[in-house]
Symmetry: C2
Subunit: 225 residues, 2 copies
DNA sequence: GTCTATAGAACGATAGAC
DNA sequence: GTCTATCGTTCTATAGAC
């Protein structure tokens, strides 16, 4: 466990970069802004990380492993408890959402800034960032796609693909810009209440995922599970 | 109707900026990139628009008025047809989504690039861009918030606020990065098929909006409408 | 209105002393 | 490992000729 009181330069940079990338986006967050937040020298970034791009990768990798592990563990537990039947959609969503939102309450996991950065990364237009996202999230994405398919037997695969994109979009939007909800609701909705946020998301998204689908024959597909 | 064959400098710049801002984001799309797309001089941008920020505002304003008008008209028609009862959720979603996606097929309305830009703007971290979005979208947002409330009587307002954010997030993600769905589905889902996209979105989102809600007392709220 | 030329600032990255 | 100083580039914005 690293002591905060004498955090080394590398950690100071990672912490500052996390906040800067989350709030401003990759392009707009300059190395000079990051060093001023971290209270270190400009050259230190290149010494420890090599480049801006490598810094983002380091920030991301530091936090994503615990989240991915927790997601995977929850999914595995759900699968074991379920046996051979279809998975509960809510359970799969929980395994996807809660480990990400849990970061907000634990500075060890990154805190609220890391939640924002996770969301931001998904909608970041920069190609380098998207490549990094694919490398770091690809396995998790595939794992959950399969789980959703097993939770929604009968749902045609293309329809599921559309719906998974909606799930990701809704998650990303709330995670990367929680201020918007607070502002729109004049403070009555608090995105910092992550237990509530998870519940609201799971309620909404599970209903969406389970919606009857259009068979393309003018009729509707059956209810799922 | 403006002739494309001898479009004036101002229009050339607007067209190029639309594509550049949509694909790269506001910060990453440089004026030099835009003038090279447009085939005009760098000074021309400042002469016609004054600043990069003012250029984005001009790009945005040129296209948003027809969309907002169409959205409002559809909502009004729905309200007139409905009378005093609750609005159909699907109808409200249609009025919100279809006018935006319709841009893709009509170069007069901006084409596919403008759909991407609409989505991109929503998730753009730049403060200036968010201020512009608030000014241009605020009235529409308020109008549709009211319509959703009327379509979902009994749904507590804070819950509705959460759900509207999920709707916006799902829309924005699909609009600003249609390539992701195509890639994730290995080409089997085509986001360019906007009729299908609208149907999939409306099916998913209306089910989410209508989901039973948690009353906070351990029981569930009634079904809506 | 359209251009060339350039100002002035900020950027990522690096060399080299300590 | 840490720093200062600076390189070379790119950015938005502008001055001024035509």
């Amino acid at each position: 466990m690293r002591e905060l009181r004498d955090a080394d330069t590398k950690t100071l940079i990672l912490d500052a970069a996390e906040v800067a990338f989350a709030d401003l986006g990759f392009d707009a967050a300059s190395l000079r802004h990051i060093i001023s937040l971290a209270g270190v020298n400009l050259a230190a970034i290149h010494y420890h990380f090599g480049s801006k791009e490598a810094l983002l990768a380091a920030v991301f990798r530091r936090r994503i492993a615990p989240v991915s592990a927790e997601r995977s563990a929850r999914l595995k537990r759900l699968e074991e408890q379920t046996g051979d039947g279809p998975l509960a959609v809510e359970g799969v969503l929980q395994a996807l959402i809660e480990p990400a939102l849990r970061m907000a309450h634990d500075p060890e996991l990154g805190g609220p800034a890391m939640v924002r950065l996770f969301g931001r990364t998904i909608v970041e237009p920069n190609e380098t960032v998207q490549k990094l996202l694919g490398e770091e999230f690809g396995a998790t994405f595939a794992r959950f796609s399969t789980a959703f398919a097993r939770a929604l037997p009968g749902l045609p695969e293309p329809v599921l693909m559309w719906r998974i994109q909606f799930v990701i979009g809704a998650m990303a939007h709330l995670m990367c810009d929680p201020g918007k909800l607070k502002e729109a609701s004049a403070g009555r909705c608090d995105p910092a209440d992550t237990d509530l946020a998870a519940r609201e998301m799971i309620t909404f998204l599970s209903a969406g995922l389970r919606a009857p689908w259009d068979t393309g024959l003018g009729n509707r597909g059956g209810e799922v599970a």
